[in-house]
Subunit: 300 residues, 2 copies
């Protein structure tokens, strides 16, 4: 069974200009669970002035169903966020550092060493309370400010991060602005896998330039990976100009199902979630399965 | 240099509900040539009652620049179309057969043996005049009427087709309705490559369910291939319900450029063609490079 992290409630919503209320977010999470999602990035404990859509992080975490066999992750960028995530009952903490100093300073007001130090502090808080810890390296495939990000920049950052205490349970390489190509996926995986030890490898792709699904397939070819996806293909980064659209969970599951890779997710149910997002929440759905129809066609 | 066939003037336009006049088609071809295209599927010699957008096939072929080092292909489904293509001065003839009898009967009023016989007659006419011949097997990845198409169905059709006289210079496996996944690309390539002899292998992908670019990458991994792409990602099949969008040339070239695979095409120029299609021809552009911007960003 191939592991997928559903990120629509967090990355999918964080940059939407239209406010989505807490009730709708919880209904989204319920619908995702009904479609088979068992690992959900539910919200982000960040500055509500910078990411207003995530201002209800505590309320979302207070409202999610706790008896559904689902692990809920929350994102944080600093110690304050980690503390809030622990208090809110997150099962996992996802701490983001940026691959480049320029993006780090614009996004988090911190350069590389400061971000790593913040990671270590936040991770220690989470681990002390029993949360699993993911370290996400944002902009691993390219930076909106510095341009190309050399593989060695990512590799050395990962090496330094894995040497910190506590080491993350999982390392996530994120194509925050949707510029990555499959050749980069292969290069980055080859560069970081030897460093990982017991940590899992996860990838986060946006389909901004139509490379996201090819990147996901490339990632799967490198060995065991966890993949992020967002129902409806909604999503973006508020600090990355023109970054839009995570890969859509329903389209990824279509690809994997028909390739014989089980995911535990129900693509028809996910396509219905995408239709609901489009019709009821008026969100910009980029996943195509709902519009194109499934294949082979379901008999009517 | 990786070979790409530009199909926007044919597959890109054939199903557009808004008429595109001959002058605009010739301007499109000029713009594609300026962006580096050297192999262009320019038009289709088919029944204008069934495909009105291609009613000006003779005029298009009469108007293309002949001194640009470009090879022009024309599509035909029967002897009449092949004869017209030869008379119009096409450099290549692309003859389509369908992988399933049901699609063949709906699209061309012919079943498998009839389509193969038609191929042989049309190919003989083209070859006698010195045209290169492509045999396209439509619906190789799935049929809108019969559903899944077994690999063996395609393999045996290709085997029979390659035994005909004349054998095609090139075999194209087409995902006519955009349902294919990378695992199918690998299976189909493995099944047909041993049959090919001197014939080249070509793939035609639609991105209808967001698998098209991943399929293209999978095809490249199987060995030498030719890939079809359509500037702006426009395109569809008038006989395949809801089939929309070839893979966009500019997005494919972005992926290949940044993977170190040269194509001879200028992705910035192609993105400009896509913008022109969108703004001047009011065509539904699905390629994303023009909207998202190139990366690394061009200094302004």
């Amino acid at each position: 069974m191939h592991p997928i992290v559903e990120v629509s409630p967090r990355d999918g919503l964080q940059n939407q200009p239209r406010p989505v209320d807490t009730r709708a977010k919880l209904e989204l999470i319920d619908r995702l669970i009904a479609a088979g999602a068992r690992r959900i990035e539910a919200t982000s404990f960040v500055n509500p002035k910078r990411v207003p859509q995530m201002a209800d992080a505590d309320a979302v975490m207070a409202g999610v169903p706790r008896d559904a066999g689902v692990r809920y992750a929350a994102l944080a960028a600093n110690v304050r966020g980690a503390t809030r995530a622990v208090a809110a009952g997150a099962d996992e903490l996802n701490v983001v550092v940026l691959a480049t100093d320029t993006f780090g300073e614009r996004n988090q007001g911190a350069h590389r060493e400061q971000m790593l130090e913040t990671y270590a502090q936040a991770a220690a808080i989470a681990r002390a309370d029993g949360l699993a810890v993911t370290l996400t390296v944002g902009a691993s495939f390219g930076c909106p400010f510095e341009g190309e990000v050399p593989v060695e920049t990512v590799r050395s950052l990962v090496e330094d991060a894995l040497a910190l205490a506590p080491a993350p349970d999982e390392l996530c390489l994120a194509d925050t602005i949707g510029v990555g190509v499959p050749a980069q996926v292969l290069e980055l995986a080859a560069a970081v896998r030897p460093l990982l030890g017991d940590s899992a490898l996860r990838f986060h792709f946006h389909n901004t330039r139509n490379t996201g699904y090819a990147n996901a397939v490339a990632a799967l070819a490198t060995g065991p990976v966890v993949l992020d996806a967002s129902a409806g293909g909604i999503g973006g980064c508020p600090f990355a100009p023109r970054a839009t659209g995570n890969i859509a969970t329903e389209d990824l599951v279509y690809l994997l199902d028909r390739s014989g890779v089980p995911t535990g997710l129900d693509r028809a149910a996910l396509a219905s979630v995408a239709e609901w997002m489009r019709d009821e929440l008026e969100l910009p759905v980029t996943g195509q399965l709902a519009a194109a129809g499934d294949f082979p066609a379901v008999a009517v």
